[in-house]
Symmetry: C2
Subunit: 343 residues, 2 copies
């Protein structure tokens, strides 16, 4: 039985506050037989691209009853990725197939429940897109914007963490719908990208604004119809003051709160009554039934270059811990991807 | 032209913090001709019952762009009431008709836009009910519970300010739907009422609970499907920790915040994501088109004694300021009504 090296990124122990590179360790000593155990109906994957996603912070805390399990100290990090099937014991997949879905931060993974994997149908787009626009973040932008916000032409849309994996898509979807869109992000470079690359009508760096309420009033003199919430905390507090009657808030994420030991209190919730707001949270995995419908929409948009997607790609498993940690301080410009192998 | 005395409760000036009786003055010097001005297509009303409602606190603050205008210093308080038509210049109403709707805190009022008034059809129920179960608070409970929460048999429902004008109805509607219902209120007497009179499964006095999260865990070991939000602040913060996946929060009111100069911050909003919550605010006046449908439902329930309604009735305009102020410290037991005249 052929055994090969299987580099892994191991989760060391539960994390308090901001995660650090040293909360993960690269091991190069493990090996893996390039073959499934006898009788297995799983699949053996060669991992190509791994995705760094904010929800992974929650998995670094010991929690019970969360919608996603904590990482296991001493075991590899797990997360979304793109992979190639090396061997399959499952009727729906065969050797050579490309898939995206849950895998491990290692060179090779055995997936015992391959029905959770999506078989990749379109290979005439960058494969890494299946960690972003064609994967979980894409579905998140699609569901959170179209299904929750029910946007109409001419409405005023605000997006936080706007240059990220999800935000850059929400902004472009909003423009395609005929909305007026403003985004916020944490660096000058990102703000430029929002305006020049993704077509946001306006953008600003929230870190340079002393008064977020005043900033929003400047960009939205008529108020905000739709807020795509990625950050929470003080931004939400300011947005609530600027929502219009019958506004909608798609509560996708609150990344500004993930590393705090106690969440910040948010004021101005009485706007929910006065403005008759809809505030709706969601977890994208509940809505994967809509994935085919989303693909039908987005694949032509990509091919016709009506939408673009920016990735922040680092090479090698050894770069993964730094990349993951980086998203919590905004180091990533666009979707954060780690290349393990290109094929 | 016959002139009669027209006692009035005058709004003195904008209020800071908790309202006081002295923020209103009873004047007995005004008179009114018992006749409409020539050519008027308004109506002259004799006021019978006046309603004390929490939203009136908002009108005591000078605000712009709110969904309801501020009171005018030096003019009578205005609010919901039940009245009899003395003279009508409007085709839809005639002398002797009974109506409910917006009127003044005085013995007689001229209403220049009588199309805002509801003509009372059922007079075989207490007329004062049109300030409560058959008026604005009734519609609020109906819309906020049925339309927003879409309750299902067997679901776990929590109601705050549960013995009040709205809350007592929400609890009873929930029981009629086959839900498990727990209410909270601020005195022992009210807690007893909830259990013995309104049929709540459990009830507790929030003022005696050192840890609201723990209280809710005690009453809802399985969590809360539906929260009917009347109070906001710390209660909402604790509820968020105890919501179940796909829970719904009908954001009706946040009375604990109305007298503060700055709203309290509310933590635990990330539950909105994790639990995929729907949080929906509403203003009942947007939904008065459903009033006939509500009446069809509720009138038989009253007649068949399947629902009951408790009012806290005080006599005379001179008692009105104290009654209104009292609802902000929970003095009222049930719907707070002021009798101006009985016919
Ligand atoms: N509900 C779901 O199913 C679901 C699915 C996917 C993602 N999400 C959520 O969606 C949000 C965006 O995810 P993503 O994948 O698109 O990530 P991302 O935007 O690519 O990366 C995270 C970005 O968040 C910003 N950020 C970090 N800390 C912040 C803070 N304290 N305050 C404000 N901004 C901060 C940084 O950009 P700046 O330079 O702009 O600060 C950073 O680049 C996250 O909250 C995530 O949890 C939810
Ligand atoms: N959205 C709408 O269209 C709409 C329409 C009608 C009413 N509302 C809202 O619905 C809620 C209930 O109104 P209602 O007419 O039924 O009033 P109510 O319950 O009859 O009277 C107010 C009650 O609120 C409670 N309360 C007062 N201050 C409080 C505090 N700091 N913390 C907790 N509870 C407090 C008191 O009862 P305890 O003894 O229990 O403390 C008091 O009796 C209010 O928030 C109101 O603004 C909204």
């Amino acid at each position: 039985m052929e055994e090969v090296r299987n580099q892994q990124v191991i989760f060391k122990d539960y994390v308090n506050g901001f995660p650090k590179e040293s909360d993960m360790i690269l091991t190069t000593s493990a090996t893996v037989p390039l073959q499934l155990p006898q009788g297995s109906n799983g699949v053996l994957l060669k991992n190509l691209y791994l995705s760094c996603d904010p929800y992974m912070r929650g998995r670094m805390t010991k929690t019970e009853g969360s919608y996603v399990a904590s990482f296991t100290p001493g075991s590899p990090i797990t997360g979304y990725g793109v992979a190639k099937v090396v061997e399959s014991g499952h009727s729906s997949l065969k050797k050579g197939d490309l898939v995206w879905g849950f895998t491990g931060w290692q060179e090779y993974s055995i997936i015992t429940a391959p029905e959770t994997l999506f078989k990749i149908q379109h290979t005439d787009v960058p494969l890494s897109y299946y960690t972003g626009i064609l994967g979980m973040p894409g579905m998140t932008a699609y569901y959170g914007f179209y299904e929750i916000c029910a946007p109409k032409k001419g409405e005023y849309v605000f997006v936080s963490a706007a240059s990220g994996a999800v935000g850059q898509l929400v902004g472009q979807f909003a423009k395609l719908t005929g909305c007026y869109v403003v985004g916020t992000a944490g660096t000058k470079e990102k703000v430029e990208l929002l305006k020049t690359k993704f077509g946001f009508d306006e953008a600003f760096n929230y870190k340079e604004e002393p008064n977020l309420d005043a900033s929003l009033k400047r960009y939205f003199p008529e108020g905000i119809d739709i807020y795509f919430e990625n950050v929470g905390g003080k931004m939400l507090e300011a947005v609530l003051l600027n929502m219009r009657v019958n506004g909608r808030i798609s509560v996708c994420g609150m990344i500004s709160q993930y590393n705090l030991n106690q969440e910040e209190g948010v004021r101005n919730l009485s706007s929910i009554i006065m403005k008759r707001l809809l505030v709706k949270g969601f977890i994208v995995t509940d809505h994967y039934n809509l994935y085919p419908k989303y693909m039908e929409m987005v694949i032509p948009l990509i091919k016709e270059e009506k939408i673009c997607y920016i990735e922040d790609i680092v090479e090698g498993l050894e770069s993964a811990p730094k990349a993951l940690v980086g998203i919590f301080s905004g180091k990533n410009v666009g979707k954060q991807v780690v290349v393990v192998a290109r094929e």
